[in-house]
């Protein structure tokens, strides 16, 4: 099957430039995708029975005693790993297709004409759907600044893009449900918008490395990203699954294993004193601890979920998670190539302050 995929993908490139007019229809693409459609049809029946299967495997097949530490841990692990991986595959596939409509070039074109405020909001929203990988943070940053996207707007994008992505949303949905996911996305967007706006207000342009400011408005590469047919979009979805799930599955398994250990062995409410609402210092501490820790959402969410079950407050847990994902040391080192230390300091400070605030608000409200 893999071979035939390549043939269809390359055959597409053969078409002369004028072929955009006769795009293959959605229906014809669907027919050639039968194996994937069958898998999709099987998805729900399997997914909806995972709890039953996990319970049976743990207590009947493996014969572990109900109510034991080991039994609770094993059941948690057997249930959560396939659940999260199945959700991940489905959503990453969907998002991979959606992303073929949002290239960084298009996002930049949308943002280039925008003023601040509205621009910050739009940038944060586009940060969610535009393909982003921290290894291309610098070229993306330069591309934005070069074409006249305001600095603060660029930062809104740069904060939102890694923090709110499909992997984070899948894990939150799978392990916490809709409400917490909505809270995370909403507050994450707010932090990105406000932090970007503040950085814009601070007029930090002179704290870019000098060669960045001197950069001429150079040529922009015109690559035929337009006119993809549905076949190519499905290929992009498959590619996204291969690449993203291939990269994060180990984090998921390890994260859930740690979570399972906490779930089974740490006594309920053991963490209430340390990470509970009454410990006012726990929010800033969680944020500070989160900065040097580098993990994507896949590794951290299962751990956070287990912590919550043991008495950690939601605001503290969310703050910890945001800090781990949004503020990472490796990304700062990459950004150091274009930002002077002062601007990096401001970036970390503003975002960290925003996250701490979010943590306190939720500990107060919830």
């Amino acid at each position: 099957m893999a071979n035939s995929q390549i043939v269809t993908a390359t055959a597409k490139l053969d078409e002369p430039d004028g072929a955009g007019a006769r795009q293959p229809c959605l229906k014809c693409s669907l027919v050639s995708r039968l194996p994937e459609i069958v898998l999709l049809a099987l998805w729900w029946p399997v997914y909806s029975h995972l709890q039953t299967i996990a319970t049976w495997l743990t207590y009947s097949a493996l014969g572990l005693g109900r109510g034991t530490h080991l039994g609770a841990s094993v059941e948690f692990f057997i249930f959560e790993v396939p659940k999260v991986l199945m959700l991940l595959i489905l959503i990453v596939f969907g998002v991979g297709i959606v992303r073929t409509f949002f290239t960084p070039e298009r996002t930049r074109a949308i943002l280039a004409g925008k003023r601040e405020s509205a621009g910050n909001v739009l940038a944060a929203l586009l940060g969610i759907v535009t393909p982003f990988c921290s290894c291309s943070a610098v070229p993306l940053f330069l591309g934005f600044v070069q074409s006249g996207v305001p600095l603060g707007v660029t930062f809104s994008f740069l904060i939102a893009a890694p923090m709110i992505n499909e992997v984070a949303v899948v894990l939150l949905l799978g392990m916490f449900g809709l409400k917490v996911t909505a809270i995370y996305v909403g507050t994450g967007l707010t932090v990105a918008i406000v932090a970007g706006w503040v950085i814009g207000r601070l007029r930090m342009e002179r704290h870019l490395e000098s060669w960045v400011s001197a950069m001429s408005a150079g040529n922009t590469a015109e690559v035929e990203a337009e006119g993809l047919d549905w076949n190519a979009r499905f290929d992009a979805g498959r590619e996204a699954v291969r690449e993203i799930v291939g990269k994060v599955w180990l984090f998921v398994v390890l994260g859930i294993a740690v979570g399972a250990g906490i779930h089974g062995y740490v006594p309920t409410n053991a963490l209430a004193g340390l990470m509970g609402k009454s410990a006012w210092w726990s929010v800033p501490l969680a944020v500070i601890l989160g900065v040097p820790m580098y993990s994507n959402a896949a590794g951290i969410v299962p751990v956070v979920q287990a912590l919550l079950g043991k008495g950690a407050a939601l605001g503290t847990a969310l703050a910890f998670m945001m800090s781990v994902i949004a503020l990472s040391l490796p990304e700062m080192i990459i950004l150091r190539k274009v930002l002077r230390p002062r601007l990096i300091g401001v970036f970390i400070g503003v975002v960290a302050a925003g996250i701490v605030l979010v943590g306190y608000i939720f500990n107060l409200v919830m």
Binding site: I6, T10, L13, P104, P131, L140, L142, M215, V223
Partner: protein, 76 residues
Amino acid sequence: MKIQILGTGCAKCKALTANAEAAVKQMGLDAEIEKVEDIQEIIKFGVMMTPALAVDGKVKIVGKVASADEIKKLLA
């Protein structure tokens, strides 16, 4: 012919370089493959996502690891 791989040296850039080398070898082309790792040089190409691949100075692939077959089509 000159093929340039643009990227700051991440794993994906290495994969793209390997695929380009394979494509050139399979086609028996006399092409020079150059890795462009300096960020200022990469920006001059107007590229926002790495890795990218340029043939004779023109950017052909952006932000993905193209297979050797895809690259062969570009070079043909």
